[in-house]
Amino acid sequence: MRPGAVIAGCGWKLGRPFPDRLDVVIRQAVLAALAESGLSIDDIDSFVTVAGDTLDGISVPGRAEVAGNYGRRYLNVPSSAGHGLGAAVTQIEAGEAKNLILVGWGAATKYGAFDPRRNQADPFYARPIGASPRVVAALQANEILDMPGMEKSALQSYADAMAQRAWDGTVAPEAGAAPAWVRTGFCDGAVAIVLRRASDGKPGVAVSDFASISRAYSPEDDRLDTAEWVKEALSAMSGRGYTDGTEFTVIEAAAPTPIAEARALSALGFASDTDQGKFNPSGGGATAHFGQATALRQIAETSRRLAAGSKSSSRRPSKGLVLDLTGPAGQHTTAIMLQAETVQ
């Protein structure tokens, strides 16, 4: 178990799209996270943002200032939420920061009409042949469909259930387009998480372990199997080895599509007909996807559920797991283990 960082507060908002400017929503998320943590902005000594040029152009530094980074240690991680969390936790464990805010955002609703992320594909081999993230995700979906337990009707039920949880509604099939379980459910999102050093004795949710694995844009694996990538990430956690998921009370995942997400969860025992709300109570990331920072919401949701559980009946530590699968096929996979510290 890592010694270091505790999640002290979270704030987030989703929209399709946001009615307010993204800057305003980012600030609201930061203020909500600070309020929950009991800390003020003056207590914060470092900012880490998860944002990239694909979604935000040259606005990343400006929005970071709106979020409150001005005059503080600052790092932008133009990568996945899991990588951002790793950078933030490492700053705290290294003693570089005591109280830190991790913020991520994306205005991706517009990608529902047209997904322009072709620039992620390399310019010589992938981009000219149409291997954009959207098309690679479809290719992967067709491949996963041949794997055990991946029935179309069950996948439609999964996509509908996740949308109901995230949006209080169902995913409507669109004539002539890919089924809901192949499509990314784009939205706008902003999430802020306050992290602090674990040794100050206050209750919180500990980031007890995390590990990332990754693949190139064109993975060399025989199959684009998210379940295998999840097993690899779990095995990379401090050498603890693969876990089947039974030790966790809640497991959240964010992948590019519902089928990739369901397959990732299957590595931990998920089957759509046995889900009792342990898997993706937030609705997951595929049906509420705002880009690379998406899984910050899964981290925040899991943290809040664990914190609520520790304040109620159980005195036993409650464990949660977040799976962040970013990239066209989810090949940048991070597993994050969270553990509630029981209130005495």
Partner: protein, 137 residues
């Protein structure tokens, strides 16, 4: 218009396709791998001809990506194939020509008459279809 260098290995690979209608992979000892497109690990290696046959691993169904805005996918599907002699899969254009795109379907390489110096200069087709059509190969 952007112009990039494809690098030492990438330039050789793309030039061989464009000028010689030849598909080749880069064989290295450390790591021990035949990569296509070539990956430059900064170690010694040698070029090895691969193909013309290949095995289909998967593809993106046209009806799922019709609204993706990828013009090249009006005539092709995006596939993932394992070229004979290669050790890692390759994203590549595939013309299924009505064949059932099952994993393991045997394919053969086809080269375009024109050339662009990119991945659209070649594609794969089911073996029976490529044997009966007149495209340059």
């Amino acid at each position: 218009m952007f112009r990039h260098s494809a690098g030492r290995l990438g330039s050789y690979y793309l030039t061989a396709i464009r000028t010689q209608k030849r598909l080749c992979g880069w064989q290295t000892v450390s790591p021990s791998r035949l990569s296509v497109p070539p990956r430059d690990f900064g170690t010694k290696g040698e070029w090895t001809d691969i193909g013309p046959g290949a095995e289909l691993l998967s593809f993106a169904p046209s009806e799922w990506v019709a609204d993706s805005g990828e013009a090249v996918l009006r005539d092709f599907v995006l596939g993932r194939v394992l070229v004979d002699g290669a050790e890692v899969p390759l994203f590549v254009l595939v013309k299924l020509n009505g064949a059932d795109g099952k994993r393991g379907l045997r394919l053969s390489v086809r080269f375009a008459k024109g050339h662009t110096g990119t991945g659209v200069d070649f594609w794969f087709e089911p073996v029976s279809a490529s044997a009966s059509e007149g495209a340059q190969s």
